[in-house]
Point group: D2
Chain length 269, copies 4
């Protein structure tokens, strides 16, 4: 029995679609880190293609097939191949792929040197359009922030809290996830660890106090670091402090496109 292929029938509305495909597909994923080692994680995948104005529908099951055929561990290069493959397999002019996953980095506690993992949210975000690939990396880095105003005006103590630094960079050369994470952690009052022994806890407490930073300070220091890295073509950075003295967040956002006509930092959205 041959079943009619509704998706392949003609469409007369003359409306092309920027992106169509599958969203929120959970799938096991292997990711290659800076040291070359491969870690196993789980991703939520979005895979889309552009659809021309004269075709009624895309073929959704092919996207899932591509995920199942994925053999290579993901790094910047193999991800770019995947994005192109999606366009090829769906015979589309452009494709868009997002793989979001928790990524683990083994860290040493600052004094005891005890090792433990910290988890980061990462997305590889790629677009392949008329032969031109574009790979973006999105990373969310949890850190400590300590308020300079609270420290300055108080006789003792200073309010501090967990913050999220969220980077989205587009690059023209390989950049390791670990490099972006370290850039972000350097711009915070202090970085986080999975395990801290008492001498470590003393260290991170005092170091954060010495290194008080507003949300504005953290984002400016990180923007400067990204602006001076020639591999980064465009970036946006967000910092959100989950204020320990309020029930809302302090927030800052900077966006820069180095290739735009006016490349000065932060020319608006």
């Amino acid at each position: 029995m041959t079943l009619f292929d509704v998706q392949s029938s003609a469409d007369s509305r003359e409306v092309p679609i920027n992106r169509v495909g599958v969203k929120g597909v959970r799938h096991p994923l292997r990711v290659r880190g800076r040291d070359g080692k491969v870690q196993a994680t789980v991703c939520s995948a979005n895979l889309y293609v552009a659809l021309e104005h004269n075709v009624k529908g895309t073929h959704m099951s092919r996207f899932i097939e591509i995920l199942h055929e994925l053999n290579e561990p993901i790094d910047q290069a193999s991800f770019a191949d995947l994005v192109r493959l999606v366009a090829d397999r769906l015979q589309a002019k452009s494709s868009y792929v997002e793989l979001r996953f928790p990524y683990f980095v083994m860290k040493k506690a600052p004094v005891s040197q005890v090792e433990s993992m910290l988890d980061y949210e990462v997305s590889y975000i790629g677009e392949w359009s008329e032969g031109v690939p574009q790979v973006g990396i999105w990373v969310q880095i949890p850190v400590t922030s300590l308020c300079p105003c609270s420290k300055k005006i108080s006789d003792y103590g200073a309010h501090n809290q967990r913050s999220h630094i969220t980077l989205h960079v587009e690059v023209n050369a390989p950049v390791h996830l670990e490099e972006l994470i370290e850039m972000a952690e350097k711009s915070a009052s202090m970085e986080l660890y999975g395990i801290l022994k008492r001498p470590d806890e003393k260290y991170v407490t005092e170091k954060a106090y010495e290194n008080a930073k507003f949300v504005e300070d953290m984002i400016r220091d990180l923007a400067l670091a990204l602006a001076s890295d020639s591999r980064v073509v465009r970036f946006s950075v967000e910092v959100e402090n989950f204020e320990s003295i309020h029930n809302h967040s302090a927030y800052a956002w900077i966006k820069q496109d180095k290739l735009s006509p006016s490349p000065a930092l932060a020319q608006g959205r």
Copy 2:
């Protein structure tokens, strides 16, 4: 045309259902506060009844009708009426109702006395079973916690963070939401505010530092307060500290049923 009523047909599986109904219905809600004033908010409502073994299905649209007929502002007494009404209208032996909503309390900053609102998550949770009503109140209170260990071992500073205190109490007499909120805030290192001017920020910073508390300290102090309040028949309390030096939480839980054979605090789950 009469349409067949499938739900009312017989069922021969002999399996009664504890709770069946509608979940996640968003609806406007008016709530009466301690001062008698009514505030407008929005709830997510779950309304269920028990279904006897010999009936195939309940009538889902009646639950939504009851929500639309709700005229009275919600307080402990009118909520108990609502729970009973659900059982009556659905001709059920028992009913279960949960209304979850953000609740706002106007607070004065500790030094400047500037007024601002703080938001709390609240649920009224009620059960009506064979003529016996039971009203529970669930409240989540965001506060500041400051670590005694970090303070003790560090030359300056102490890590602190936002924490959630979550109360679930069953009561045999009226208890205002504001009373539960104040009990919880007193057990924390410091309470939160929407607006803090600089003298207020100095105050809350120093006060939290003077009042260092582990997650264990906060939950014990609150459990003692609830244990000594004769209106509270059963309670469970959770405290979760969103650690500013880790990417995970410190957590504690205490449960007590004063009516159980062994009423000592915390006899297990």
Copy 3:
């Protein structure tokens, strides 16, 4: 005692910040609907301003004060005033405000004419930049979609599911929320209701079956409607079908800027 104002001190990094302020502030909100009536709801508010390169920090408490002074019910005009007020009060060149809230519309069931409310997620999103205001409206509309392929190839039945249509429009004239909601609902296989009696359930079941639509059909029909509305300057539309036969979504996205050099529909991002 005068406390030092750290935020107002100078900054030498020469990095302006696009947006800085408060995020995730919950606050009661009154919203004016198409019929002129005001409904009470609760919003999550983000309020940001641009910060010049030579100032260390913004004054976070002023944003919360503005929310507390809000007296007018929100509609497109009063929201634009609010966005400008944020820039003025913070002495900033530009401001950005987002108010996200559940919005309720009373609807009549198609046959029984029984009235019930349906809830929609709405955001007013505004930017005020060097004297030029820009107001955007974001609405998420839950609907039914029914698959044309499943209908065509099956002897009986067709898989259907809840879908989210998400609109983001920028407008140059007043557009009621109800107008956007109705546009979206017309592009679906069928709209949703809070209460459906049996004759209504028969109606919506048959109507959805007669009106089978892919995610691609829904988005194209809606894009055409928005493209032909002269009040809409820019728009993006997403449709997500929570597939009843898979554990992932089918998804489509169209973006159009009518003022851009190449105004054809869907020229890419």
Copy 4:
């Protein structure tokens, strides 16, 4: 330098704590399936112990150390060992451990036999108390439900939707995750797949239509299956239908403790 151990100091409040520890720790996890093969996934872990009344605090870093030492793939037996280990290492009378993770099962499409993975949310939940272990398994299974009323009263079509079946069982003998998943899928109108070719889509559409079930039908059939499995000592089941014709869910819940004095099904909570 020896740093003072605040946690080990005495506490005079006389309030034991039921559970205290770490919550929301993300960690890589290997899980052994029915076929003996091990799959790599990522968990969110909660690890708690009881704390006696006279000790001020527990030692949080030890919980994280235990996670890092985890070498064995998780199955029911190795999980029970882990729960006991937590109590031992923290020198506690009781412990409570929850590991929640996505779990993947390879399934064959019903007609084409094409293989694809489906993802399920799973938690192993264990308690170890005064020498007695108790292992619970929590699984959330996404399925299709098709409404018998809509089918009966409509000339064609029937509304259907994705549903979540959520099982929580306590067992006295090994039960494979795959067994629980299959029990749940058999009680639904139809199970889900990652990849469906057109002949498969025809099959699942027609099969769901033939197999119309209310939320009440699904939960009763599953409760019967669990009641008759002698390895299951206690269970609770929830079914939630994300109604395609409403913006809320239909919901049902059944709880049974076979060891309780009145073991009849569904005697209330």
